[in-house]
């Protein structure tokens, strides 16, 4: 059934038990909204030198946007900023694949579960909300420098 390709069990698990949720200290904070549906996220990034020390967030939205923020936290915290940015780029590419890509599981881990979401144009923005907020907050935390991989 098509619906199961979107609502993978991994996604529903992250939705029910989000990782890293709640706001903690950070070097930069951003607030992003999805104006078409009202989903919102306030996200903070804390860097420790060139390493992503923490990503904390308060958010409201659908299961896809909530699970995506949880997976983001799992994937980038503890990683060097450059590597985290590569993961973000790979996730963006996956979400823009219109269902044509399965994603690189070595790089994206649980995030490959979102491959099915990329078939639903109205939901791609839900999945990307926290990732775009993280990209923005990281750029701010780096002192307005453009992201390393750009």
């Amino acid at each position: 059934m098509k619906l199961d390709s979107m609502y993978q069990e991994i996604i529903l698990d992250h939705y029910r038990n989000p990782h890293g949720k709640g706001l903690r200290d950070g070097d930069a904070e951003v607030h992003h909204v999805n104006p078409t549906c009202g989903d919102e996220i306030t996200l903070r990034v804390r860097l420790d030198g060139a390493v992503v020390a923490d990503v904390s967030y308060e958010s409201q939205g659908c299961s896809i946007s909530q699970a995506s923020a949880s997976v983001l936290n799992d994937l980038v915290v503890g990683k060097p900023v450059g590597e985290a940015q590569q993961i973000q780029e790979a996730f963006l590419e996956l979400m823009q694949s219109k269902g044509q890509s399965e994603g690189d599981e070595d790089l994206l881990e649980d995030a490959v579960a979102f491959a099915g979401v990329s078939k639903y144009p109205a939901r791609v923005k839900c999945a990307l909300l926290s990732w775009m907020a993280w990209k923005d907050a990281t750029a701010k935390a780096l002192g307005g420098q453009p992201p390393l991989t750009d």
């Binding site: 619906l3 979107m6 609502y7 529903l12 549906c37 009202g38 659908c62 299961s63 639903y120 939901r123």
Partner: protein, 420 residues
């Protein structure tokens, strides 16, 4: 489910045969259950045929040619104006202005008043009154006017039951009020508003009243004279007509006094390099080539609705809405946002379902062929008022059936199981 206790229903078997899209099947053979009528209605074959006939037989620009097609196109376009005038019981066809949608109609009113001379002019000493339940189309034009003129924007608030709170009407509508703009029926809450009390107060201080009838005109008898208001805005696509055609009705003496907003062809009397004079209303407010085919389509939609009878459409929707409210009460954790009875209520019902986000509700319903709207419905202040990020909205029309209500209820149980 037996539906024999429901009274006032239309012959939907016959009506649905006129709407080709309603026989579509989605997702491997599930029949379409279209419950997004407050966003836009489906179109009957009679409207689609009128559009085709216009383009195949009569297409020309209006008001300027002497050839046969130009005369036919003009007659069809102006004939649509006659139909709209009769549909809303306007005293004169010259009070019916064609726009592209209700948003443009309301922006037109705001801009007329921003550029008007006294006594209509909105300036830094003026106050504008709207309500917390407005669609963004009846909020943002007034915010823009207030920002540009320095006028103060004031709001009626809402009760916990989803009704307008009129308790402070005397503080809200004062001698400074130039315009009160209010929706007749809320697109999110479904509430039918007590316009008469607002009109009485506004008249007592000499303020104009504009009404957003976007969710009213498609569903019940609309009589601009009985309303005793100054402007009424609505859109065609929610009442079986194509997109791209809206209406602003305004009282004739106001339309004569108020200045044009958009300038261009069609709206002039004479033009010199020094200045121009303007055509009389309604043409003064219809710059450029209008949406001709769309107006013809609106005329055909009005013919279709009038043949059934707007009182009968209203009775049908009332029965369906009452049945839906009764059955939604069976779904655990479901909270209706808006009046929980069918009294003074339109056919749009918004609700939340426990902690399940409306996007997820809508997605799982879609998989069963059920089309609903999810989100803030372009009425974000209402969501803020009730402390919710968004709602799921089911909205009905003359072709909606009790069986479709049953499908919605079954679908919502499935949603709960899916995320349970």
């Amino acid at each position: 489910m037996t539906h024999s206790h429901l009274t006032g229903l239309l012959d939907t078997d016959a009506i649905r045969k006129d709407f080709p899209v309603l026989s579509r099947q989605l997702h491997d053979g599930k029949p379409l259950v279209y419950l997004d009528n407050a966003a836009t209605s489906q179109k009957p074959r009679q409207v689609l045929d009128a559009l085709n006939a216009y383009y195949e037989q009569h297409n020309a620009n209006v008001h300027r040619g002497v050839h046969v097609l130009a005369e036919e196109a003009t007659a069809l376009y102006e004939g649509a104006r006659d139909k709209v005038a009769a549909f809303v019981n306007a005293p004169s066809r010259n009070e019916v202005i064609f726009t592209k949608n209700a948003s443009e109609s309301l922006n037109l009113v705001a801009n007329m008043l921003g550029w008007a001379d006294e006594p209509y002019r909105v300036d830094a000493d003026s106050e504008i009154v709207i309500t917390e339940m407005e669609h963004h189309s009846n909020i943002v034009p007034w915010q823009l006017l207030a920002q540009r003129t320095g006028a103060k924007l004031k709001w009626f608030s809402l009760t916990d039951e989803g009704r307008l709170d009129l308790s402070n009407i005397d503080e809200l509508i004062t001698e400074k009020t130039k315009i009160v703009s209010v929706t007749l029926v809320s697109n999110l809450l479904g509430t039918v508003n007590p316009i008469e009390a607002i009109v009485r107060k506004a008249q007592s201080v000499g303020a104009l009243v504009a009404v957003d009838a976007s969710q009213a005109a498609p569903h019940a008898v609309l009589d601009v004279q009985a309303l005793e208001v100054d402007f009424v805005a609505f859109t065609g696509h929610k009442m079986l007509a194509p997109t791209g055609i809206g209406v602003l009705w305004g009282r004739q003496e106001l339309l004569e006094d108020l200045p044009p907003f958009l300038g261009g062809g069609e709206m002039i009397e004479t033009v010199t390099m020094g200045s121009s004079t303007y055509a009389p209303a309604p043409h003064k407010f219809e710059a450029g080539t209008p949406p001709i085919a769309q107006a013809v389509g609106l005329g055909a939609a009005i013919d279709y609705l009038s043949a059934i009878g707007m009182d009968k459409v209203a009775a049908h929707e009332h029965a369906i809405t009452a049945y839906a409210i009764e059955r939604l009460a069976e779904v655990p954790d479901l909270r209706i946002i808006g009046p929980r009875t069918a009294v003074d209520r339109g056919a749009a019902i918004s609700f939340t379902l426990g902690d399940i986000h409306p996007h997820d509700v809508g997605q799982v319903l879609d998989e069963q062929g059920i089309a609903v709207r999810v989100g803030h419905h372009c009425a974000r202040p209402v969501c803020l008022r009730y402390g919710i990020p968004a709602t799921t909205r089911a909205s009905f029309y003359l072709y909606s059936t009790p069986g479709e209500v049953d499908a919605l209820i079954d679908g919502l149980h499935h949603v709960r199981n899916f995320f349970g």
